[in-house]
């Protein structure tokens, strides 16, 4: 089998949330460059199972880049070295034969490690539950142009809504800040007519929950934007700041 690769993997292994954990080195032999990164890990895991060892635990679901479950910090970057893709969309041809690859879980106080490379990202869900919804009935599918929304606004709201909540922004940020995620979730509703009723309450409630969860503070490095698999832009953070400051200084809506 020519053209196959042999790699050295330094993988973070941790039994549970309370275990200290550490790196264990594995050899990944005879890896096809056409495999995805997760398929490569599947191959390694099969060999571990055959040897009677505990397979490497990592999150994954759709394996087509839309679910936001996969979450590996590869060689110092979330979702590996390529732009705008998730780990499942990363292929082994992005690495060279004989390379050593370091694989770590997302590192954040708000994302405790469940096991090995999988983290508990329920903090994101709690932020969503704090205000990332519309609590009025939106009815069935409306007729076209019944609710007028300018194309640019609809596009921008859609861009924000493409966030899959994987947490790469938190992982990439040197401050473990969740502001790109929170701002995308605030933006997608703040831009559309259906989101207006709770607009300012939402911004306050979601920011408060974000702080509660213990995420860090944005220093505008832009690392999140660069690493986001869905290319959510920093404009969202600026918009979140506007929503929040408008709510605090110019509106009278209180958080429930």
């Amino acid at each position: 089998m020519s053209g196959h690769m042999n790699l050295t993997l330094k993988v973070w292994r941790q039994k549970n949330e309370n275990d200290r954990g550490g790196f264990i080195t594995y050899k990944a032999t005879d890896i096809s460059p056409d495999m995805s990164f997760l398929e490569m890990l599947d191959v390694v895991n099969e060999s571990l199972v055959k040897r009677g060892e505990d397979p490497i635990y990592f999150d994954h679901d759709c394996r087509e880049g839309i679910c936001g479950m996969c979450s590996l910090y590869i060689n110092g970057r979330p979702h590996g070295p390529k732009r705008a893709i998730t780990t499942c969309q990363l292929h082994m041809r992005s690495f060279s034969d004989g390379e050593t690859i370091t694989i770590e879980p997302w590192r954040s106080a708000a994302f405790p490690v469940i096991k090995d490379l999988a983290t508990n990202r329920a903090a994101f869900e709690r932020i969503q539950q704090a205000g990332g919804f519309v609590s009025v009935g939106t009815g069935g599918v409306p007729d076209a142009n019944e609710i007028p929304i300018p194309k640019v606004i609809a596009d921008e709201a859609f861009n924000s809504a493409t966030c899959i909540g994987c947490g790469a922004c938190v992982a990439a940020c040197k401050n473990a800040s969740a502001m790109l995620f929170v701002s995308a979730k605030i933006s997608q509703l703040a831009l559309l007519p259906q989101g207006q009723q709770e607009r300012y309450q939402r911004a306050q409630a979601m920011v408060a929950q974000m702080d509660e969860e213990g995420f860090g503070n944005c220093t505008n490095t832009g690392a999140c934007e660069a690493e986001c698999p869905k290319e959510i832009s920093l404009t969202n953070i600026a918009r979140m700041n506007r929503e929040f400051f408008s709510a605090k200084f110019f509106k009278e809506e209180e958080i429930r």
Partner: protein
């Protein structure tokens, strides 16, 4: 918690403080730079010393100066608080990081650059500001001929037990304007005779440059002002104005005096 304290204890509220104090200090830099350009004048320090007296005694300027001291302290304290929170947000770090792949160096080192600047501000204020206020600065007497203002006669006043009073008066009989002022210019000149001290200033201005290349535009992003039309302008001013022009002209001042000493 009231709405006000609630706002400023939130992450975005703290960032707002960083942004506003930072921008206020930027505006100060412009004034400080323009005023200090008078150091380059060949008048024995007349313009600079008169300006120094004005800046320390004109009441509105005094109010602004207290705002400035408050800004420096708030900016430093909030930076410390935010940095500690950020460290707490990632208690276990990564074994491998590759920051340069996704973010500029300046943006990742604002804390270090800011610390250099804080040390600089303390030393800078101790050398000039504190000395000017309480340090026993000698006085100079300038006699300017009204007919020929270019002709200035400069005399050092001997340090005596009775401190001279700052005066700026026109003597019609002799046809001249007499200015007696604290000679801050001399303090500046003496301080910048030391190559080590000058080197520290140049280093600090390099730190200022990097700090502002990221800081200026970052402040506007925090305020939420990211209009497509104006962002290129803000970036331009941030990089070329605050990042390069201002630190370079500031650095030119100690270098100017150092070269004057050696030539």
């Amino acid at each position: 918690m009231g709405n006000f304290s609630n706002t400023f204890s939130s992450s975005l509220g703290k960032k707002l403080v960083m942004s506003l104090t930072g921008l206020f200090m930027c505006s100060f830099l412009v004034v400080h730079l323009v005023g200090n350009l008078q150091l380059f004048k060949h008048d024995g320090g007349l313009a600079f010393n008169t300006y120094a007296y004005f800046m320390t005694h004109f009441p509105p300027i005094k109010v602004v100066s207290y705002l400035l001291y408050t800004s420096i302290v708030l900016h430093a304290i909030y930076a410390l608080v935010l940095t500690m929170k950020n460290k707490k947000a990632r208690p276990i770090g990564y074994a491998v990081t590759n920051g340069k792949a996704n973010s500029p160096w300046t943006s990742r080192n604002m804390g270090i650059l800011g610390t250099v600047l804080l040390v600089f501000i303390i030393i800078h204020m101790n050398t000039f500001w504190a000395k000017y206020h309480w340090g026993g600065v000698p006085y100079k007497k300038y006699v300017i001929e009204l007919q020929n203002p270019e002709h200035v006669q400069v005399t050092d006043l001997p340090i005596s037990s009775v401190e001279p009073v700052h005066t700026d008066a026109v003597d019609l009989q002799s046809g001249s304007r007499v200015v007696i002022a604290k000679d801050l210019y001399l303090i500046v000149q003496n301080a910048f005779e030391s190559p080590l001290y000058v080197a520290f200033y140049v280093l600090a201005m390099a730190a200022l440059s990097f700090h502002l290349i990221h800081g200026f535009r970052s402040a506007f992003q925090t305020l939420g002002w990211d209009h497509k039309k104006y962002i290129p302008l803000i970036r331009f001013i941030g990089v070329w104005g605050f990042g390069l022009l201002i630190p370079i002209v500031f650095a030119a001042m100690p270098l100017f005096f150092l070269f004057k000493t050696f030539s």
